[in-house]
């Protein structure tokens, strides 16, 4: 756990970065606007489906250029980060970004729930779905954090989105041979090891599917993958050097 003074410094640096980034602000606001639009055009129940499924993607807004851009910019070669403190800063940055994204997600959830209570569409299982959305979101952040050791700027997030798009397009184009799998996904039951493994691979790429709350085994898989990604991130950060 980074020292409190470093967490405070990291929070100030990160907050100023987001405030000065119109793209991040627009991306952050686009999600609630989209959900509200669905709700008003269709129904609260339809908005809820989109809200929980897309909630983990909110974390990707915060997960851009977490490591490589800072390292290559030379900004970490400063009196603020001497004595290997730049590694602790990068660890603190992951924590701060995760906490900020979770805080923003919580605010959105409270507003969404208030809307549901007012319209009579709120269901108690939403709390569980929100928790699963947070797990998937943290997994995204950890995965993007690992990729950010190798990819500059927002290309870590772009790479993730491209892999997701590729997987989903592949799934659509192989609909006929995979009709069984789609049925299994709809029912939440996977008879046999083959379909389980195929779906497990899909979950590793699109963890959003666990927010349905009907896939506890795969939620456990995402939790395990989150642990692995965090361990990989910690190991990579511990080996970092500023060579430029």
């Amino acid at each position: 756990m980074p020292e409190p003074a470093l967490l405070a410094l990291t929070w100030r640096v990160t907050r100023r970065r987001f405030v000065s980034s119109p793209l991040a602000l627009v991306a952050g606001l686009a999600f609630p606007v989209f959900i509200a639009w669905i709700g008003f055009k269709d129904s609260y129940a339809a908005a809820a489906k989109f809200f929980f499924f897309l909630l983990p993607h909110v974390f990707l807004i915060a997960a851009q250029d977490t490591v490589r851009s800072d390292l290559d910019s030379g900004a970490l070669e400063s009196v603020l980060f001497l004595g290997g403190r730049f590694r602790a800063y990068l660890e603190a940055k992951s924590l701060v970004l995760g906490a900020a994204a979770a805080g923003y997600a919580a605010v959105l959830f409270v507003l969404f729930s208030a809307w549901g209570v007012a319209s009579g569409g709120f269901r108690p299982d939403f709390a569980l779905r929100f928790g699963l959305g947070l797990i998937a979101g943290f997994y995204y952040m950890a995965l993007a954090g690992v990729l950010s050791h190798f990819l500059r700027a927002g290309s870590n997030v772009l790479a993730l989105l491209l892999v997701q798009a590729g997987a989903l397009i592949g799934l659509i184009f192989s609909t006929t041979p995979r009709t069984g799998l789609l049925n299994y996904i709809a029912s939440g039951r996977f008879p046999g090891l083959g379909p389980k493994l195929v779906f497990g691979s899909l979950v590793a790429i699109v963890p959003n599917v666990i927010v349905s709350g009907r896939l506890p085994l795969y939620a456990a898989e995402v939790l395990a993958l989150l642990g692995l990604a965090l361990a990989a991130q910690k190991r990579l950060t511990a080996r970092l050097e500023i060579r430029k």
Binding site: V13, S73, G74, R243
Partner: protein, 235 residues
């Protein structure tokens, strides 16, 4: 203050540093000299903890450490005041809002470096190379280090600013601070340094105090530090 022992660092096939050892004493200015690619910057980065040595060890006496890179860079979304505020917050006895007049001390330090305080409202990424260097000095003055390490301390500076920085170094030394400077400006180094470390091909080839250095110089009948350095470097 700093003790480096048999440092070695390799980047792939390139052996940047293979046997660097030196000591600096408290309250002195030590100049690290060497040709391009001699391993000076790599050595400084090992000392400062930005790089891990493959072999050898560095020990630094307890205290605050400051650093002036050759080409300073800063977070592009922070303005000068914000960066100085973060730096002051690291030095708890000098943090903004603790009762001391942080702004006044910053302005005084800026003037001593011929740095226009109006620039502090702008982002250092927009500064000229010389002003970015002076801002890095200002940041370090706010931090008030016990040990200051500078890589090419005079690069990008105009003659009046070089004079200010020279006076700053001498003032810091006289107040008991320790300085380690890596530079190609031999005339400047000869004026202010108390000790010299000369690197060549990643190795320490000479390590001398000023008295020893002058003895070497007279023995070799060289007129100045430049001649001695060129002899040592085999140029």
């Amino acid at each position: 203050m700093i003790e480096a022992h048999k440092l070695a660092k390799r980047f792939g096939r390139v052996e940047a540093v293979r046997d660097v050892s030196f000591k600096t004493r408290k309250g002195t200015i030590t100049a690290m000299l060497g040709e391009n690619g001699a391993g000076k910057t790599t050595t400084l980065k090992i000392v400062l903890g930005f790089l891990r040595p493959d072999a050898g060890a560095v020990s630094i006496a307890p205290g605050r450490v400051g650093y002036i890179p050759d080409r300073p860079a800063f977070f592009p979304w922070l303005d000068g005041w914000a960066i100085l505020g973060l730096t002051g917050a690291r030095r708890k006895d000098h943090a903004p809002g603790n009762g001391r007049d942080f702004g006044a001390s910053v302005l005084a330090a800026a003037r001593s470096l011929l740095f226009d305080p109006a620039l502090l409202r702008r982002r250092p990424a927009q500064y000229s190379a010389g002003n970015a260097k002076k801002f890095a000095y200002l940041q370090n003055l706010v931090f008030a280090p016990d040990l200051l390490v500078a890589d090419e301390p005079f690069s990008a500076l105009d003659p009046p600013s070089i004079k200010c920085v020279r006076e700053l170094f001498c003032g810091l030394r006289d107040s008991g601070k320790t300085l380690l400077l890596s530079s190609h400006m031999l005339a400047e180094m000869e004026r202010i340094a108390d000790a010299f470390v000369v690197l060549r091909h990643g190795q320490t080839i000479a390590h001398a105090g000023l008295r020893e250095w002058r003895l070497m110089r007279s023995a070799r009948t060289g007129p100045d530090l430049e001649s001695v350095f060129l002899r040592l470097a085999g140029s």
